[in-house]
Symmetry: C2
Subunit: 147 residues, 2 copies
DNA sequence: GGATTTACTTAGAATGATTCTCATTCCTAG
DNA sequence: CTAGGAATGAGAATCATTCTAAGTAAATCC
C-alpha cells in the first residue's frame, strides 16, 4: 500500500522535474484522483476536493489538473463533446465507454499491441501516441472492479 | 465519378430510411462534405455552404450534420476539446491528427484489425465500436493528398 | 534575514461550441 | 385542400473551459 507521504513525495518530485511546484492544492487534487479511479470530470474533482479544502476554487482545480497532466501523472480522456475526464496514469491502456451507464473502464493493453497498431500507418506518418476508445456495454461478469 | 444527382438520391434514400426528410439544406451540407474531405468543423461547413445558400443558418448546419450522422452518411471526429469535425463515412478508418499542422488524415484499417483490437477486451465487455486516434507528425513523402 | 521576482490561487468575467426556444415555413398524409 | 408533424432560422441560453486581475506564498538574490 502506498502511503500518503510516499505519493506526496513522488508528486513533488514529478512536479519539480517539470519545473512546477508542489502545493497543498495539487496534493489534494492528486489524492482525490488516486482515491477513486472512476475518471471524474473537473467538476467532480472539485466537489470531492472541497470537503478537504473548502476554499479551493474551480479555476484552481483546472490549473492543478493541468499541472498533473503536464508532469505525466494524469491522463485526460474525452468522449465526444462531454467534459474532459481525468485518470491517474499507470500503464498504457485503452478506455471502454459504457454507453448504458456512462461509466468508463480502463482496458489494459497487451504488450506490443500499440506498436502493432502503429504499424498500419502509411510511410511518412510518425505517431507519438495512439488512443483507443471502445464504446458499448459492459455486462458485469463475476467481480469487475474499476478501482 | 459520382454525379451530383446520384449522391442526391443516395442521400434521400438514406435519410428516409432513418425517417428523415431530404431537404435542400441537407443536400448542400452533404455536398460540402463530399467536395473537400478535410474534416471541417460546423463553422467551416457553414462558411462553405453560405455561398450556395446565403440564408442558411448555423443552427441548421448543426441540424443537418446531425441528420447526416444519424443516417450513417457522416462520422464525427473529436480531438480533445476542439470543435467536432465531420467526415463523410466510407470505410472503417482511424484518424491521424497532425499536431504540427492541425490537419486530420484518414488511415485505412486493414481487414480484421478492429476485430483483433476488440479481442483484447476482458470477458463481459461488448464493444459496438472502436475508435483509434493517432497523434503525431505527418512528413509528406511523395504525393500525399487527403482530398 | 529582507527585498524582489516568480509561481500559484482565487473569484468572477469572458469565450467558444453547441443546444434550445419558438415563430415561421414546408411537406405529406388523410 | 387542410391538419399535423418536420425542418428552418434567428437569437438566447447553456456548459465546459479559459482568461483576467488582484492577492499570496514561496524561492532567489543580495
Amino acid at each position: 500500500m502506498i502511503s500518503n507521504t510516499d505519493s506526496s513525495e513522488a508528486l513533488a518530485q514529478r512536479l519539480s522535474d517539470s519545473g512546477l511546484r508542489s502545493t497543498p492544492q495539487r496534493e489534494v487534487i492528486y489524492n482525490v484522483l488516486l482515491k477513486r479511479r472512476d475518471h471524474p470530470t473537473a467538476e467532480e474533482v472539485f466537489a470531492r476536493a472541497k470537503p478537504e479544502m473548502p476554499m479551493i476554487s474551480l479555476a484552481t482545480v483546472y490549473n492543478c489538473l493541468e499541472a498533473l497532466v503536464q508532469c505525466d501523472l494524469v491522463r485526460t480522456v474525452n468522449f465526444e463533446r462531454g467534459p474532459t475526464r481525468y485518470c491517474p496514469n499507470l500503464h498504457p491502456h485503452a478506455h471502454f465507454h459504457d454507453t448504458k451507464t456512462g461509466a468508463t473502464h480502463d482496458v489494459e493493453l497487451p504488450e506490443g499491441l500499440i506498436d502493432q497498431v502503429k504499424s498500419i500507418l502509411p510511410p511518412g506518418f510518425e505517431a507519438s501516441s495512439v488512443e483507443i476508445i471502445f464504446r458499448g456495454q459492459a455486462h458485469a461478469t463475476s467481480t469487475n472492479p474499476t478501482p
